[in-house]
Symmetry: C2
Subunit: 238 residues, 2 copies
């Protein structure tokens, strides 16, 4: 859902990259985590639809959920094209998303909206950073998948209106935003430690460019900066 510009283009890995089994494993892992993340976003948003204050809001959040499912289907199809079993590829990430959503269950409609906006934005930025290091086909698919589904404006309007109505809401939601980022980073760190394939994609291999430590530092700086921009759009301190 982020509308930030993607990071500076970096030379793509060539399609031959797939002849490296470590690269293929990494891409399958990455598509698996992305796909299950979208399916899990569908579930979370559909759940939030129950908290909607009225029919138009319920329908808007349901449309966001459906858009995530469309992304899920594109990613699943790509896994099939790569000859991978899409469900096996997603399985290792079921618990990660389960933990994340259990730790960040929204208490009300506004928390659900902030979570959708901030969480999806952060995830999209991160996946875009990684995509730059992938072969071109995989990269374009990920970029399309992450394109803003045009629902951000709805979230921004709802949150800003709520803060205008009761400024105390802003303080509570700002804290909530910080908690979301903390939890997302903690789950991401766990994933990186558990899944060598994912890390390999990021740091590159003998024939493929990757990020060095300084590059990873700069990436985190960009992610944090974009997160602050999103919070500011919602009218929240980050």
């Amino acid at each position: 859902m982020s509308d930030q510009t993607p990071p500076t283009p970096t030379p793509h890995s060539p399609p031959e990259a797939f002849s490296d089994p470590l690269y293929r494993t990494g891409v399958v892992d990455l598509l698996g985590v992305l796909a299950y993340g979208e399916l899990s976003a569908f579930e979370r948003l559909a759940e939030d639809a129950k908290l909607a204050p009225g029919i138009p809001e319920k329908a808007a959040i349901a449309a966001m959920a459906s858009a995530e499912l469309g992304h899920y289907e594109a990613l699943r199809d790509r896994l099939v094209t790569l000859g991978a079993d899409p469900y096996e590829a997603m399985e290792p990430f079921v618990d990660t998303f389960g933990r994340f959503h259990a730790q960040t269950a929204p208490a009300d409609w506004l928390e659900g909206l902030v979570k959708a906006y901030v969480g999806d934005g952060l995830a999209a930025d991160f996946y875009r950073e990684i995509a730059a290091y992938l072969d071109e086909d995989t990269c374009s698919l990920i970029m399309e998948t992450l394109a803003d589904t045009g629902h951000s404006a709805f979230v921004v309007d709802q949150v800003r209106a709520a803060i205008a109505h009761d400024p105390r809401v802003g303080g509570r939601l700002a804290l909530w935003g910080r908690r979301l980022v903390g939890e997302a980073l903690s789950q991401a760190q766990r994933l990186a430690a558990d899944r060598d394939g994912l890390t390999t994609v990021l740091v590159g291999g003998a024939d493929r460019p990757g990020m060095d430590l300084a590059g990873i530092g700069r990436m985190f700086a960009r992610l944090t900066e974009n997160h602050s921009v999103r919070m500011a759009k919602l009218g929240l301190a980050s």
Copy 2:
């Protein structure tokens, strides 16, 4: 979700029918109940996705939910075209569907599937019966909306496999199917009593053909028969 053939074609009401304010009110009511029914089906199916035994089943049910949302959007747009406020048109039916779903909350994955199949099939048959008495544009939209979204086969396979695995499941689900129909009819009766507009569409007006009492009797016979066919497809006694 029904794949029954629609009832014998009946002369449509002419487009001028809209000059009759009672007809217009009835059509807006009908589109309102249909639209909210689809939105509510989205919510219910998304909720059932949580009960799915695995990722492919979760994704399949989520796709069914998304298809219902697509129908919702077409109906909402038609209400806007008719100059009606779509959300006002849906509001009177929120409680009806709330009651129906509260009375028929599935206890497990299979009950959710049977509810989706049997409930959507019955609703689709009923709306098709009414659509035959409407102006052609409204009728075609309703027919398109109710077209099988291609997910029935998935439900039939799942339910039949479960019965093959444990035949006792069949007895429990057959009872569940009867309860669903009973609750649906009871809510439909309540709606018909409360919303004159809906009844007017069905029984016709001075310039429009409608159903007489015998016709309504035959319609219920057709609905019941189609329901039995659906139950048999699932491998269940009705």
